[in-house]
C-alpha cells in the first residue's frame, strides 16, 4: 500500500478524509499512482491531470520525500519510502489561493 495526501478540495470531491491508501500494481510512478487513484476515485479524473493528454494540471505539484517531483517523467519510479508506504506522496496546490 502506498499513501497519498490530497489537497483539501479534492478530499471533499472524493468524499475522503486524511491520507488515502492505494494498492499500486508494478513500479510506483506518478503514472501508476494516478492510474490507481483515478480507478478508485473516478470523480478525480481530470482534476489532477488532463482527461486526454494526461498532462499534470499546471497549478498542481507532486512532492516525494521532501523533494519536488513535479517535473520528473511520469514513469520515473518514486523513492523507496513512497513505494513501500513509509512516507506519503503529497499532491499540493502550487500557489496559495484567495
Amino acid at each position: 500500500m502506498i499513501r497519498v495526501v490530497l489537497p483539501p478540495h479534492l478530499r471533499t470531491l472524493s468524499r475522503t478524509t486524511g491520507e488515502l491508501q492505494l494498492e499500486v500494481a508494478g513500479p510506483v510512478t506518478q503514472r501508476s499512482v494516478l492510474d490507481a487513484l483515478e480507478a478508485q476515485y473516478p470523480m478525480l479524473r481530470g482534476t489532477i491531470r488532463d482527461h486526454v493528454t494526461l498532462q499534470r494540471r499546471p497549478f498542481l505539484r507532486f512532492f516525494a520525500c521532501a523533494e519536488d517531483w513535479s517535473h520528473e517523467s511520469p514513469d520515473t519510479p518514486y523513492p523507496a519510502p513512497i513505494a513501500n508506504g513509509e512516507e506519503p506522496l503529497l499532491i499540493v496546490g502550487a500557489i496559495a489561493g484567495g
Binding site: S14, Q40, P42, M43, L44, G46, T47, I48, H51
Partner: protein
C-alpha cells in the same frame, strides 16, 4: 401559493435562496461546493428539480454537478457509455467533466486558433463552463457554453458532452479574441417554440444563430459598432456582454454590448441602438420582464475602465418601450458609496403574476424586486462575489 427558488453562483460556492410568492421571507441554503468557483446553475423548465451546476477551479479544472431533488443533494452524472453510473462502492464517475474539442475527421475541424490579447494566434484551450442551458423540452438535454469559446451538448443528463463544432468551425475563429474575462461563450438562448433555433454570444466574437440545432451558424452582428476593433463594423470581434429575449417573441433580441444597448427585431439579422437616455450604456446584464415583452432591464456601469455604478449609486434602469426611453429605479438600492459590479449572468426574472426581478453583485448582495423593479430589497448582503443568478418559479 407559488414559490421561487433563486440559484446563485459565487466565487466561493453556490447558494439557494427560497421564498413563497410574497418574496419577503427567505431561506438560504449553502454554501454548496464551498470554496469552488460556481459560474452558473440552472434548472430545467420541464423538471424543476433537475438542476445543473458548473463547478470549477484554476487548480482542479471543471466539474459538472447535477441535482435531481431541487438542490438538496448533488452528484456528478458522468460515466462512460455502457458502464454502471457508480463505482462498486457507490461513487460516481468522472466522465461528465470531460470537455474535449471535436477534432474528428467526420464532424470536427482541425484545432483552429483564435486571436490572443497581443494579436498573435493562439490555440483553443478548454478552461471552464460559463453557462449551462437546459433544453426547454427535455431535462436530459443541456447545452454548455465554455471558455475558450465553444458550445457543447449533452443528451444524457450531463453524463457526457460533445462539441457542436460547426460554431468553432464557422471560419471566423482566427478573428475571435478574449475579453478581459477570457474568450467565453456566455449566453445561450433557445427559441422555446423552435428549439432548433439557438442564439449564442461570445466575448469577444459577437452573436451567432443556428437554425438547425447547432450544425451550422451565422454571425448576427450587423449594426453593432465597436470602436476597439480595427473595423468597428466587422462581421465578428464584438464584445457582446449578454443577450436576452422573451419566449413569446423569439425574433426580438435585446443585447447589452460592451458599450451600447442594442435591439434586433429580426432574430439578430440587424441591430439598432436603444441606449436612449441611459446615463451610461456600458454594462453587463440585460433581461426581459416575464409578462411584458417590451419591458427590459439593465444595470448601467460607469465605463469599461471603471466597473462600478455611476456616482456610487446602484441603479437598475427599466424601459417599458423596448429601449430608448429609460426610467431610473432606485427605491431600496444603495444611494452612496456603492462600487460593486453586476456580472453578465447575474440577473433573472421570475414568472409570478407580479414579475420578480433579481440581480447579484460582486459585493455579495442579491437583490429582489417583487414588483417588476418598482422597489428593491436585499435577500442576502454578504455572500462571496456573485457570478450568476437564475430563478425558478415553482408551483
Amino acid at each position: 401559493m407559488s414559490k421561487v427558488r433563486v440559484l446563485v453562483g459565487t466565487r466561493k460556492g453556490a447558494f439557494i435562496l427560497s421564498a413563497d410568492g410574497t418574496r419577503k421571507n427567505w431561506e438560504v441554503s449553502g454554501p454548496h461546493f464551498a470554496g469552488w468557483e460556481m459560474y452558473h446553475l440552472k434548472g430545467s423548465a420541464v423538471d424543476p428539480n433537475r438542476i445543473y451546476a458548473s463547478q470549477s477551479s484554476g487548480w482542479f479544472g471543471q466539474i459538472i454537478q447535477r441535482s435531481d431533488d431541487g438542490g438538496k443533494t448533488w452528484f456528478q452524472p458522468g460515466t462512460p457509455p455502457g458502464e454502471p453510473t457508480t463505482t462498486p462502492d457507490g461513487m460516481p464517475k468522472g466522465e461528465s467533466n470531460k470537455f474535449v474539442y471535436d477534432t474528428s475527421a467526420e464532424t470536427g475541424k482541425p484545432l483552429t486558433t483564435h486571436q490572443w490579447y497581443d494579436g498573435t494566434q493562439h490555440p483553443w484551450e478548454f478552461k471552464r463552463v460559463w453557462h449551462l442551458e437546459p433544453s426547454p423540452r427535455d431535462p436530459d438535454t443541456v447545452y454548455a457554453g465554455v471558455e475558450d469559446a465553444a458550445l457543447f451538448k449533452s443528451t444524457d443528463g450531463g453524463r457526457s458532452w460533445h462539441e457542436l463544432s460547426g460554431l468553432r468551425g464557422h471560419g471566423t475563429g482566427p478573428q475571435w479574441q478574449p475579453g478581459a474575462g477570457g474568450m467565453c461563450l456566455h449566453t445561450i438562448a433557445i427559441d422555446e417554440k423552435n428549439p432548433e433555433r439557438i442564439y449564442i454570444a461570445i466575448s469577444a466574437a459577437g452573436a451567432f444563430r443556428t437554425e438547425n440545432g447547432g450544425k451550422t451558424w451565422k454571425p448576427i452582428n450587423q449594426g453593432l459598432q465597436s470602436q476597439f476593433i480595427p473595423d468597428p463594423n466587422a462581421e465578428v470581434g464584438h464584445c457582446v456582454h449578454h443577450v436576452a429575449l422573451h419566449p413569446a417573441r423569439p425574433d426580438v433580441l435585446f443585447m447589452q454590448k460592451h458599450w451600447d444597448v442594442m435591439r434586433s427585431d429580426n432574430a439578430g439579422d440587424r441591430w439598432h441602438e436603444v441606449s436612449g437616455n441611459l446615463p451610461t450604456d456600458f454594462g453587463f446584464v440585460i433581461d426581459v420582464h416575464a409578462h411584458e415583452p417590451e419591458t427590459i432591464y439593465v444595470v448601467p456601469i460607469k465605463s469599461d475602465g471603471e466597473h462600478f455604478p455611476l456616482d456610487g449609486k446602484l441603479r437598475v434602469y427599466r424601459s417599458r418601450s423596448g429601449g430608448n426611453e429609460w426610467q431610473e429605479l432606485s427605491k431600496g438600492l444603495p444611494e452612496k458609496d456603492c462600487y460593486v459590479n453586476v456580472l453578465r449572468d447575474a440577473m433573472a426574472v421570475d414568472k409570478l403574476d407580479s414579475c420578480g426581478v433579481y440581480f447579484g453583485t460582486t459585493g455579495g448582495q442579491v437583490y429582489c424586486s417583487p414588483d417588476g423593479g418598482d422597489s428593491w430589497a436585499p435577500i442576502v448582503r454578504d455572500l462571496p462575489a456573485v457570478l450568476s443568478v437564475e430563478v425558478q418559479t415553482l408551483p
